[in-house]
C-alpha cells in the first residue's frame, strides 16, 4: 500500500516562528501536494510539485513556500507563522496520469496551532 507520512500530527508554534511541515511518500510518485483544511471551506490547494525542484502555486500560496529536493519528500514552509495559518495541513501524492491510478493518496494530517 502507498504510504504518505507527515512528520507531526500536532504542532504548536508561536507567531513569527519559521515552521517546517515535512511529507514523505514511498511509492515513487511524481506529483505531491499540500492542502489546508478549514471548517466550511473544504480542502484548498496551497502548492504542488510535479517533479524534483519543480513547484507550482495552488489557490492559496500566500505566506507559504515549498521545497522538493528529493522525489519522495515535499516540505511546506511557513516563513513567519501567523495566527490565520492555524489549520489542518494535509499532504498528498499521486502518479502521473495515464497509469490507471488517477487519485490522490493522503497523509494523516498535521494540526498546526499558531499562538
Amino acid at each position: 500500500d502507498v504510504k504518505v507520512t507527515q512528520s507531526s500530527r500536532y504542532l504548536v508554534k508561536r507567531t513569527g516562528e519559521k515552521v517546517f511541515l515535512e511529507c514523505v511518500q514511498d511509492m515513487d510518485h511524481e506529483n505531491m501536494f499540500w492542502y489546508r483544511q478549514d471548517p466550511g471551506l473544504g480542502l484548498r490547494l496551497i502548492y504542488f510539485s510535479y517533479d524534483v525542484k519543480m513547484k507550482e502555486k495552488g489557490d492559496i500560496p500566500e505566506g507559504y513556500s515549498v521545497s522538493r529536493e528529493k522525489k519522495e519528500r515535499f516540505s511546506l514552509i511557513l516563513e513567519s507563522a501567523s495566527t490565520n495559518q492555524t489549520s489542518m495541513y494535509l499532504c498528498a501524492s499521486s502518479p502521473f496520469p495515464g497509469q490507471g491510478d488517477e487519485k490522490l493518496f493522503f497523509g494523516s494530517g498535521t494540526q498546526l496551532s499558531v499562538l
Binding site: 506529483n31 501536494f33 492542502y35 466550511g40 471551506l41 473544504g42 480542502l43 484548498r44 490547494l45 504542488f48 510535479y50 507550482e56 495552488g58 489542518m88 494535509l90 498528498a92 499521486s94 502521473f96 496520469p97 488517477e102 487519485k103 490522490l104 493522503f106 494523516s108 494530517g109
Partner: protein, 117 residues
C-alpha cells in the same frame, strides 16, 4: 475556474437506511475524474469511489454508488444499508489535467454524515 459545491453541510441517517449526498461541479474540461473521499475522526482521507467522466455507467463499490449526470454536472453519492462506521465527513472532488499534467484535485466544502443507531 473549476469549482465543486456540496450544499449539505450536515446530514444524518438511521442505521440500515439509505442516504444520498449531493455534489455539483463546474468545469470546462473534458478529461476529468470525480471522486468521493471519506474522512473519519482519525482524519485519514479514504477514497470511497471514483468515476471517469468519459464513462456513462455509474460507478459502484459495494454499498456505495453514484449518480453521475454529466450534462447537469452533478455527482451524488448514495450509501445503502448505512452503518455506524460510515459516520464521517464526505468530500466530493474532481481532478483534471492542466498544462503541466499534474492532476490537481479540487474539493467541495464537505458534508458531515452521522449514522444513528
Amino acid at each position: 475556474a473549476q469549482t465543486v459545491t456540496q450544499s449539505q453541510p450536515e446530514m444524518s441517517v438511521q442505521e440500515a437506511e439509505t442516504v444520498t449526498l449531493s455534489c455539483t461541479y463546474d468545469t470546462s474540461e473534458n478529461n476529468y475524474y470525480l471522486f468521493w473521499y471519506k474522512q473519519p475522526p482519525s482524519r485519514q482521507m479514504i477514497l470511497v469511489i471514483r468515476q471517469e467522466a468519459y464513462k456513462q455507467q455509474n460507478a459502484t463499490e459495494n454499498r456505495f454508488s453514484v449518480n453521475f449526470q454529466k450534462a447537469a454536472k452533478s455527482f451524488s453519492l448514495k450509501i445503502s444499508d448505512s452503518q455506524l462506521g460510515d459516520t464521517a465527513m464526505y468530500f466530493c472532488a474532481f481532478i483534471y489535467y492542466g498544462s503541466s499534467n499534474t492532476g490537481k484535485l479540487i474539493f467541495g466544502q464537505g458534508t458531515t454524515l452521522q449514522v444513528k443507531p
